[in-house]
């Protein structure tokens, strides 16, 4: 199957190329970037040095492909989506442009009206753990954001068993520097960012809308930048309407994820990493989820950890692509991570 990557010069684009160039069923036919036209993909992605002769072409020169991965900044894919869908292939959008079902949320969270709200109804959110069957037939897959993915997967089993009260959920998220992209501005420079524990979005983070859409909960999200390149840890404080024992939570999480290839339940009484830890997930497509009960505060702390560029973006996109294309769901995604790292 031939695939194209639109917006291939960013960190997510580079991660897509890393995965797709070694995917057993894929040939990467085109990669676009208006900034790097004519240059090797190894220029912005030196880890891909000497593994491919691909060079970037401009967005305008994109040709139809069996599948097109779109990794452009938010706001760009929404304008071109009718044209991309008309070409007849599968489109996997890694931007936020088709994640929200309600078009009225785009002005609020992304400061733009959606130019093609009719397209939103065609999109299936790229969460195999929730929408696996629908993903197998959708020609437009909208991959959720990294913090949203970690939060939704952490909370989904709790929502499923109906034990949360109506106070909503507080999500405290920490993320590595790659989450802000290749062009993160002066605040992302090493001299400024190194060593910070920066509350970069104490309120108002855009992923709030995705988490609320998928959980049905009122979400209070605060986001912090921490000393890491990759990784998201979402610590979700959920409040319960009755006493809950940990065994019940084990059953709920096991029921939701017991057969999932990329979600692991981590809540152990011994060992080096007893709860989900993003550090050991770097480069993998795993999302580790865990939980702890707090009877004193009638609270459950649900945890979700992942690599923001993998299960939080490119890896999850390839997992969705595998489902849609009929390939083994884990194809190209078998890296187990490094330890120590």
């Amino acid at each position: 199957m031939n695939v194209a990557v639109v917006g291939g010069s960013g960190y997510v684009g580079g991660e897509l190329l890393r995965l797709l160039l070694r995917h057993p069923e894929v040939e990467v036919s085109q990669v676009t970037s208006d900034t790097f036209v004519g240059k090797s993909i190894a220029r912005p992605h030196p880890n891909l040095r000497k593994v491919s002769t691909l060079t970037f072409v401009s967005h305008a020169d994109l040709r139809p492909a069996d599948a097109t991965f779109v990794a452009t900044p938010h706001g760009e894919a929404m304008a071109r989506m009718p044209e991309l869908l008309a070409s007849g292939g599968i489109v996997i959008d890694l931007s936020a442009d088709h994640r929200l079902k309600d078009p009225s949320l785009y002005p609020k969270h992304y400061r733009t009206d959606h130019p093609h709200p009719e397209v939103l109804a065609k999109a299936v959110l790229g969460l195999p753990e929730v929408y696996r069957e629908r993903l197998k037939s959708s020609n437009l897959i909208a991959v959720p954001g990294c913090i949203a993915t970690a939060s939704i997967l952490a909370l989904h089993p709790l929502v499923s068993i109906g034990i949360l009260d109506d106070r909503g959920v507080v999500v405290d998220a920490k993320s590595g520097s790659s989450a802000s992209g290749r062009d993160s501005g002066p605040a992302g420079a090493h001299a400024e960012r190194s060593g910070v524990m920066r509350a970069y979005a104490p309120t108002g983070h855009r992923h709030t809308a995705e988490i609320e859409q998928e959980t049905g909960l009122k979400v209070a999200l605060s986001c912090h930048a921490v000393e890491a390149v990759r990784g998201v840890l979402a610590t979700c404080h959920a409040f319960v309407n009755r006493p809950v024992e940990e065994k019940e939570l084990w059953r709920a999480y096991r029921s939701a994820y017991g057969n999932e290839p990329f979600v692991r339940i981590v809540h152990e009484s011994d060992g080096l990493y007893r709860e989900p830890e993003p550090k050991i997930l770097a480069g993998t497509n795993y999302c580790d989820v865990g939980f702890a009960t707090d009877p004193h505060a009638h609270r459950i702390v649900a945890l979700g950890a992942l690599d923001n560029l993998m299960k939080g973006a490119a890896g999850n996109a390839v997992q969705c692509f595998n489902l849609r294309a009929g390939f083994p769901e884990t194809a190209g995604l078998d890296f187990l991570g490094l330890h120590p790292v």
Binding site: E246, K247, W250, E268, S269, D270, G271
Partner: protein, 53 residues
């Protein structure tokens, strides 16, 4: 087949004999085999540990 006392995971290890210790495959808790037919387990005695912080 029996359940882990900590997390309710189904556990069975027909090759083990009473007194042997193995980790629960889900929560990692160390379990001690207390019976073979039927297979039964209990939480294994834990040594106190300072995990830091």
């Amino acid at each position: 087949m029996t359940q882990c006392p900590e997390c309710d995971a189904a556990v069975e290890n027909p090759t083990m004999i009473p007194g042997e210790v193995f980790p629960c495959p889900d929560c990692g808790t160390e379990l001690e085999v207390t019976g073979k037919n039927p297979f039964t387990v209990e939480l294994a005695p834990q040594e106190a540990e300072d995990w830091g912080e």
